[in-house]
């Protein structure tokens, strides 16, 4: 077999270590503290308000201090939004509203690098993701809905659809600025004004967005940003001056909101948890399926409501898939989120890390086999290695409950029917993935999967033109595209 040596010996050693490639932090200049953004200006918290610090979860350093808004502050913000709604925004032509949204979209693009760095500092996600996924999508959502603002009569909700009024919007910490865009862009396009509360651990980019609203000369009160924790959010959604509640977050809080608004006139959309099945058939394009599994569950440290956390793999290829998956996971790079080569960043908070640990301990205690690639976790900050559980069955809690971390449960199936039954056998129904080279099977599966989004031979693809939302305990209402307008309009 061996011929003459191609080269007598390798010129260089074979080990190639990527040098650190950190994104510059200096593109963001943060103030030591931020007020609430009400009626077009940053203001101090009023009586009864408090303050809290937001930290970088990768280092635990304090980034800035923000106000914990009181119910009096909520009153002020809702009043400002009401005034802006009745006096300015609801009377403005769609074309004019669109002008502001286009302006915001362009400003987001111009400040994309700064916003991406701020997002990574506050959230812990890799800069590669905030730069290449979050920020382009944020701008795309504003551009998309800017285009709808003067075409609402053609959106299919009647010839003269009307705006709702003041919207209370409460968003999670996993995609802080992107969830803001999903909420604010359609609301404003449809002619509503908003009071938005970012998550307590990730208020930073929402406050920078408030600056963008000022830069865009958006009329005061159209967008109001109030920071705070659960109590502030509760005061906001229960406020009598609100016409519409839009919430993205946990199913538990979603249920509380549904109870709170029951019997009122408030319209509600909820985008809640998930336990998505990523279904791999034996005829799947295997290398791409492995990528899809990785992207499905380890993207954003698994802090994704539509994450493909249940891998359903056909038993005949299960061993090969798990082997290839483990090989692939060994190449993931965990570490400093500001490094451009980092694939897995920090867990967003100590609380979330505690939840992930508790759930994975349960998985082990219930007899599933746990595996992680060898990786060194940084000493400071909140970290969890990519983890795969094999030997998981439908009866395991790690196959039923949302973990919201980089944890994959591997289950097997024998026939398409069994795959479908197992995939649907969950209280959730946000998303699902199907991997097969057979087009007819993709169509059959997607017709029968009870999930708001079904990805075929891909996963975690988002587009502003595509509606997103859940079945069952994953919530109701759709965000994105023409469908996303319905939540903000009276037909």
């Amino acid at each position: 077999m061996a011929g003459k040596p191609l080269l007598s010996k390798p010129v260089l050693s074979k080990h190639w270590e990527y040098a650190p490639a950190p994104e510059s932090r200096s593109v963001v200049s943060l103030l030591p503290s931020y007020g609430l953004f009400i009626d077009g200006a940053f203001v101090d918290g009023g009586a009864g308000s408090g303050s809290f610090k937001t930290i970088n979860p990768a280092t635990e350093e304090v980034l800035t201090e923000v106000v914990e808004a009181s119910s009096a502050d909520v009153d002020r913000a809702v009043a400002a939004a009401r005034k802006a709604y009745t006096r300015t925004w609801s009377k403005m032509s769609g074309r004019e509203r669109g002008k502001y949204l286009f302006r915001i979209a362009r400003l987001v693009q111009e400040r994309a690098r700064e916003l991406a760095v701020a997002e990574t500092l506050d959230n812990g996600k890799p800069i590669k993701e905030s730069r290449d996924v979050d920020l382009p999508l944020v701008a795309a959502h504003f551009f998309h809905y800017a285009g709808w603002a003067d075409k609402l009569a053609y959106a299919g909700f009647g010839p003269n659809p009307a705006s709702l009024g003041v919207c209370a919007q409460v968003i999670p910490w996993n995609f802080p600025l992107l969830m803001l865009a999903w909420k604010i862009a359609p609301a404003l396009a449809a002619g509503n004004t908003v009071v938005l509360k970012p998550a307590e651990t990730t208020p930073l980019t929402a406050l920078l967005f408030a600056e963008i609203c000022q830069q865009a000369d958006l009329p005061p009160g159209v967008v109001n940003i109030i920071t705070g924790a659960g109590a502030t959010g509760q005061a906001l959604v229960e406020h009598p001056g609100i016409d519409k509640v839009a919430f993205t977050g946990s199913t538990e809080v979603g249920k509380a909101i549904a109870r709170a608004v029951a019997g009122t006139d408030k319209k509600v959309t909820l985008e809640l948890g998930g336990k998505a099945a990523n279904i791999v058939f034996d005829d799947a394009p295997m290398d791409q399926a492995i990528e899809g599994i990785v992207r499905g569950v380890f993207f954003n440290q698994g802090h994704v409501c539509c994450a493909g956390t249940r891998l359903l793999v056909q038993e005949s290829v299960a061993d090969d898939v798990v082997k290839a998956l483990k090989r692939r996971l060994k190449t993931l790079r965990l570490g400093d989120p500001m490094d451009k080569n980092t694939d897995i960043g920090a867990i967003n908070s100590a609380v979330q890390l505690g939840r992930i640990r508790a759930m994975t301990d349960i998985g082990e205690a219930e007899g599933a086999e746990r595996w992680s690639p060898k990786c060194d976790l940084p000493a400071r900050g909140f970290w969890y290695p990519p983890t795969v559980f094999t030997g998981v069955t439908q009866a395991h809690r790690i196959a039923r409950e949302e973990i919201f971390g980089p944890v994959l449960s591997v289950l097997t199936f024998r026939t398409p029917k069994e795959a479908l039954e197992k995939a649907n056998n969950t209280p959730y129904g946000l998303s699902a993935g199907v991997w097969t080279d057979k087009g007819s099977r993709i169509l059959w599966m997607s017709q029968h999967l009870r999930a708001g989004v079904v990805w075929a031979n891909t996963f975690n693809q988002f587009d502003p033109a595509s509606p997103f939302g859940g079945y069952k305990e994953s919530g109701y209402g759709r965000e994105g595209g023409r469908h996303g307008l319905e939540a903000y309009l009276h037909g």
């Binding site: 080269l7 040098a19 290449d132 005829d283």
Partner: protein, 327 residues
Amino acid sequence: MPPLSTSVAGADPDALADVARSEASLRRFLHGLPGVDQVGVEARASDLGTRSIKTTAKAFAIDLAISMIDLTTLEGMDTHGKVKALCAKGIRPDPTDSSVPKVAAICVYNDLVGVAKKALRGSGVHVAAVATAFPSGRASRAVKLADTADAVSAGADEVDMVIDRGAFLSGHYTAVFDEIVAVRAACGEGRGRSHLKVILETGELQTYDNVRRASWLAMLAGADFIKTSTGKIAPAATPPVTLIMLEAVRDFREATGRQVGVKPAGGIRTTKDAIKNLVMVSEIAGDDWLDPAYFRIGASSVLNDLLMQRTKLTAGRYSGPDYFTLD
């Protein structure tokens, strides 16, 4: 040659021995390989293209890339003078800096092998000859074998053959297989055998599924290297194509224990392109392939860009193109 990795767990050198026993079995095997999803593989290649390679990692990559170059001239107007100049460049890429590694090989047409061989004597730089009616391969088997024998007798260390794309596209896989086996036999035997690189000409195979099948076909038939392109057809070595071929050599070693090399050729013009290729090698096939014995870059213009970037790293500033030789 570095030890063949027969120690790969589960690998069986005879695992695929009888795959090519008939047209039907060969077809079954090739068509049984997992499909390639176009969108997915292109996304993966483009994602790996965003790796940021800086400072020490970049310096390492530049020298490694230079040492992997098959410096190539394949023109009708090639002369002894041109080939000699290229050989001088290959041995000492930067006349002002002796720390620059030499390239892996000089790649020329058959009739110029002797000239290159003489110019490279004692340098350790190999001579690669394109043979088998390169680039189209449209000649009889006898002519192709004679072409190969000619290159080998002139002293070519490596033979770059083209597959019969017509036969491949019409589904005559055994014809392609048998031809590779025959050319390999014409490369000699034992320790002095010329190494065989099999050019798939992926730009003509068109689909990624075909790239994967042709890769396996060539490896099964005994290729030492699989090579993307002749450089005469566009597109040549696109990142997704190279990525699929790297997956193929990785999987082939896993199955058989034999480590086959990969050579993207054509279209790699800048240091960035070269580094993106090395990132794919490292993250898809693994660091065992980060070695000129298992990865080559077929190119000509990329060398000067690598030298320019190397100078930038050592001197801290860019110099103009006139500070590097045109050969």
